[in-house]
Structure formats: C-alpha cells, structure tokens
C-alpha cells in the first residue's frame, strides 16, 4: 500500500539516545473529572487520576488500556480540546490553554465532512487554516495513494467503508505535516489485514519523518509492534500502570512478532491486565438462558 523508502535503523542500544531528546509533550499530575448536572443531581466521572507522562520529541509512544480508562480523554487534554481538571499540560514547551493547532489528529471515529469528497476532506485541513489548498493537491493525492484511496479521491464519505473513511481521516491528519500526531485508535475500524498493512505503513512513514506520535490502541500487539515506549493504563479512573521501553529493531516487519522482546512485552502487558481483572484467565461465559433438555 505504501512505498516509503527508509533505511533500516538499528534500535538504540539503550534508552540514552532517546532520553537525551527534549520532552515535547509533558503531563504532570493531570487529572480529569467530568461533571454533569448541579446540586443533588450532580454526577461526576473520574476519568483520569494523577497522570505523569513525558513524550519526547520524535518518539513513538503507544497507550494501551481497557475501554473507558480515559485514553481518549488524555488525547483530548493534550490537544487542548478538554481542559484538565488538575495538573499541568505542556506541548512544545508551552502550557496548553486551548485547542492546539500544530498537530494532526485522528479521532476514534472518522470525522469526515459528508458534503466533501475524499480529496476535499483531506484539503479542508488547509482551507480551515486559511492556506490555499491548490499547491497541496499533489501531496494529498500521494497521501491518499499511501492509504490505498487513490481511486476514491472523488467519492463522498457515504460511498466508503468504515475502514476507508478512517484511512481518509489519517491522510487528513498528515497533509499539513505537523510535528505532533495524535491518533485515537486509528485502526479500530479496519480489518485485520488492512490493519497490519497500515501498521507497517505508519512505521515507515514515522521513520521517514521525525514526528512525535501518540498512538492509542486497544491492541497489545499493535502497541508493542509500533511504539518506542508503551504506556499501560489501569481501568477507570485511568492511571499509568506501567511504562515499557520496547527494544525491537526497526523497521519491524511481519517477523517482529517472533522477536523475544515482543513476546516478553506482550506477556507483561497481558499479565498486568490479568492482575487488574481487565482480562480473566479462562473464558467465563454467561450460560445461555432457557434451555433445551439435553
């Protein structure tokens, strides 16, 4: 699907090289409580609790955690779309006080504009920024080709499958070449095969640029295969359970799944989820109701 030429880069011998780079996204003691209603009817949801996280420039950081643990909330706080209830958030050395614009964002659902075709949905990123989109058409077409939508540039979103829509949204997040990429389960709607391909493509794309990527996923495999570091979150209220360095050489092809570091990391994350009750050992199935006599 994507042919980005990249050099094979050896994994850093240790974290020093990465650790030396400056922190690009910095969260200190971030908490989020959603409040609804007033007085007696007031209801509060503690989505995040005391999150400390530093994402370094050029780093690929993945967050895994169970549904509802506050992953999307965290992403929105970093993007400045929701204010944090407590704590300090900084992006690029500046405190986040409102929506951040120097980033590309992919939401959990592909938020395309129904009245624009796929190409124009990518270009709207520039139009909204007050940039003339015409010089970007060629780049947009290249990005669409990368995500396998070259033949669908003139289609409208309702003519696309869910996975295709999400791929268009990914192209839209890349068109303006922002230094920070926030992706909220971008491959959630994709089938297993496309998902694998998109993972390889994303890694290649990231290696060809020096973007800082925050990648949220449900998939332990995906997190370990993509990230320099994986952040494991606990069930709600979300806290950071563990941060793991993943030392698998890049590019991590299909065979990376057999790498001992992959196996070890995946097992450790699974272990955390087992301990937290997010996963249960043997399948615990609700027995069927009613019943035909045996």
């Amino acid at each position: 699907m994507l042919k980005v030429v990249t050099k094979a880069v050896p994994a850093p011998a240790d974290g020093d090289a990465a650790a030396a780079r400056r922190v690009y996204v910095d969260l200190r003691g971030v908490a989020k409580t959603y409040r609804r209603g007033h007085g007696a009817a007031a209801r509060a949801t503690h989505a995040l609790e005391a999150v400390d996280l530093a994402i370094r420039e050029g780093e690929f950081l993945a967050i895994v955690g169970p549904s509802g643990c506050g992953k999307s909330t965290l992403l929105r706080i970093i993007a400045g779309l929701h204010p944090a209830s407590e704590g300090v958030v900084e992006v690029g050395g500046k405190p986040v006080a409102g929506p951040q614009t120097n980033l590309g964002i992919v939401f959990q659902s592909p938020v395309l504009l129904e009245w624009r075709n796929v190409l124009d949905n990518v270009l709207v990123q520039l139009e909204l920024r007050g940039v003339d989109p015409r010089p970007y058409r060629e780049r947009a077409m290249k990005l669409l080709a990368q995500v396998g939508l070259a033949d669908f540039a003139d289609r409208h979103p309702h003519e696309l499958s869910g996975g295709m829509r999400q791929r268009a949204a990914i192209a839209r997040a890349l068109i303006h070449d922002a230094p920070l990429l926030l992706m909220d389960e971008p491959f959630g709607a994709l089938d297993a095969l496309t998902r694998e391909q998109m993972r390889l493509d994303l890694e290649a794309l990231w290696m060809a640029t020096n973007k800082t990527v925050l990648f949220i996923t449900h998939s332990i495999d995906e997190a370990v295969l993509l990230a320099d570091r994986v952040v494991v979150m606990s069930p709600r209220p979300g806290r950071i359970e563990q941060v793991m360095d993943i030392r698998i050489p890049r590019p991590r092809g299909l065979e990376a799944r057999r790498h001992p570091a992959f196996v070890e990391a995946a097992e450790r994350i699974t272990g955390i989820f087992l301990a937290r009750g997010v996963l249960h050992g043997a399948g615990q199935v609700v027995p069927p109701t009613g019943g035909d006599p045996p």
């Binding site: 929105r76 993007a79 779309l81 929506p99 951040q100 614009t101 980033l103 964002i105 939401f107 659902s109 938020v111 504009l113 129904e114 009245w115 624009r116 709207v124 990123q125 139009e127 909204l128 920024r129 007050g130 033949d151 669908f152 409208h156 309702h158």
Partner: protein, 277 residues
C-alpha cells in the same frame, strides 16, 4: 460492487436523465391516467349528477370556457404564495442563525417562538383582515406565518446539529469562527434547512387559499367559494386541480434548488427517496 465497476459507469447525459426519470415514473403516470378514465366512465355509466361528481372531461371544458378569469385568479394566488414564502425564508433563516449562535436569543426569543407555534395560525386569519384589510397584505402575512415556523425550527436544529468531533477537529486547525461557520456549520445545517423549506413550501398554498376564503375579491380561494356557492362543481374541481399544481410547482422548485445546493445529501438518501418523487 467493485471499484472498477463503479468507475466504469458513464455519467448520464441530460436527455438520458430525462428518459430515466420518465421510465421511473411511467408506472405512476399510467395508474393516474387509468384513474381518470375509470372516473370518467363510472360517472357516465352510473349517471351520477354533475353537481355531485362531474366527469373529468366536463371539468376540462368548463375550465377552458373561463380560463382567462381562472388563470387571472391563479396568478394572484401565486403572487401571494411567492411573496409570503420569500418573506418567511428571508426572516426565518437569519433568525434561526441568531438563535443558534446567541445564548441571549436562545433564552429569550426561542421559547416565545415555540409557544407561538402552538397557536393554530389559521385562526389568526380573521384578525389579519381587521388589521390589514382585504388586500394583498393579509394573504402574504398568513402565508408567511404558516411557512415561517417549520423553517425556523428546522434551521435552528440544523445549525445546532454540529457534530462534536467534527467541531473538535476544526478547532485543532485554529480556524476563525466565520471560516468554521462557512466551511462546516452551514453546509452541515443545509439538509435540515431544506427539510424545513419543503415543509414551509407545502404549507404556503394552503395558507394563501385560507386567507382568500376569509375575505377576498380575487384569487383562487375567492373563486372556489363563488363556484361552490353556485353549485358549479366542475369549476370547483378545476380550481382544486390548479391549486394542487401551484403547490406542487413551489415544492418542486425548492427541491430542485436542494438538488443543486446539496447534491451529496440527495444522493446519500438514495433510491428510496428518488422513487417517491
């Protein structure tokens, strides 16, 4: 269908499109023609009195005898409809915009509109006669009043329907309020606005006729009452048909504008919608 198959479909030419339109509606037209024939034959065969149910042929011949007078009335009524409807559109869309974007307007004006909407508007027609006399004005105002509410309510809903994620995406581009409105909120609202415009258009003809019923010396509503009083049933039928045609024309005009303005939405609604209209 594969991508290739879709891409291979040629874009239909205009004449081909008209042909397709005719083919799709051929069945309905046939049934309609059949109904008229059955009506004609039944009335004659059963000897039904003309003042109860005239045969279609009689409706036509009677209409043709007095078509100058009737068409003059139709023109008056059409003007009332168009003026009242245009006024309704001109007032309600900007008002909806103000209500959708101003908290003050939403809290002060919107509840009043919701309340006024409950009043049976047609009951106000006699009052308009007291206030504005027998001329053009009260008719235009009643058309305005009936078309106004569905357009305002639908437009407010449209402007407020902005998807949270879409707006959040737009906020990460740093777009100004105006640019956000033009590129996102307005196009997003258009389908609902057009729904309101079509409901309003459908009510406009009714409003004009009712206003003419109440007090008038011209227009189709006036003629309808005259012929009804004279038990001239064929002419009553002729005028009902004419009124239907005017209503239909206004409705279709709005729909054509809709097709031009938001083709993406119309095509999205797909075949089921097409089949009806």
């Amino acid at each position: 269908m594969s991508a290739g198959a879709v891409a291979a479909l040629p874009r239909p030419s205009r004449s081909a499109a008209v042909g397709a339109w005719l083919r799709k509606r051929a069945g309905a037209m046939l049934v309609f023609a059949l109904l008229i024939v059955v009506w004609e034959v039944a009335v004659r065969a059963l000897g039904i009195k003309e003042y109860l149910l005239p045969p279609p042929s009689k409706v036509w011949t009677e209409f043709w005898k007095r078509h100058d007078l009737v068409m003059g009335g139709a023109w008056v009524t059409t003007q009332e409809i168009l003026a009242g409807y245009a006024l309704a559109v001109a007032v309600s869309v900007p008002l909806a915009l103000a209500i959708a974007y101003s908290r003050f307007m939403e809290q002060s004006v919107y509840p009043v509109i919701v309340f006024l909407q409950i009043i049976p508007k047609i009951a106000i027609a006699p009052l308009f006669i007291i206030w504005f006399g027998f001329g053009f004005t009260p008719k235009v105002l009643l058309v305005f009043l009936l078309s106004f509410f569905p357009i305002v309510v639908a437009s407010i809903a449209g402007f407020k329907s902005a998807d949270r994620d879409v707006m959040d995406f737009a906020r990460t581009t740093g777009a100004s309020g105006l640019r956000m409105f033009l590129k996102i909120s307005l196009p997003q609202a258009l389908p609902q606005i057009f729904t309101g415009l079509k409901v309003g258009a459908a009510l406009a003809a009714t409003a004009a006729v009712v206003a003419e019923f109440v007090a008038s010396d011209k227009g189709l509503g006036y003629l309808l009452l005259q012929y009804n009083g004279q038990l001239d049933t064929p002419m009553v039928f002729a005028i009902i048909v004419l009124l239907s045609l005017i209503g239909l024309a206004v409705y279709y005009a709005v729909e054509i504008i809709e097709r031009i303005a938001i083709p993406w939405h119309v095509s999205q609604q797909g075949a089921t919608h097409d089949a009806v209209l």
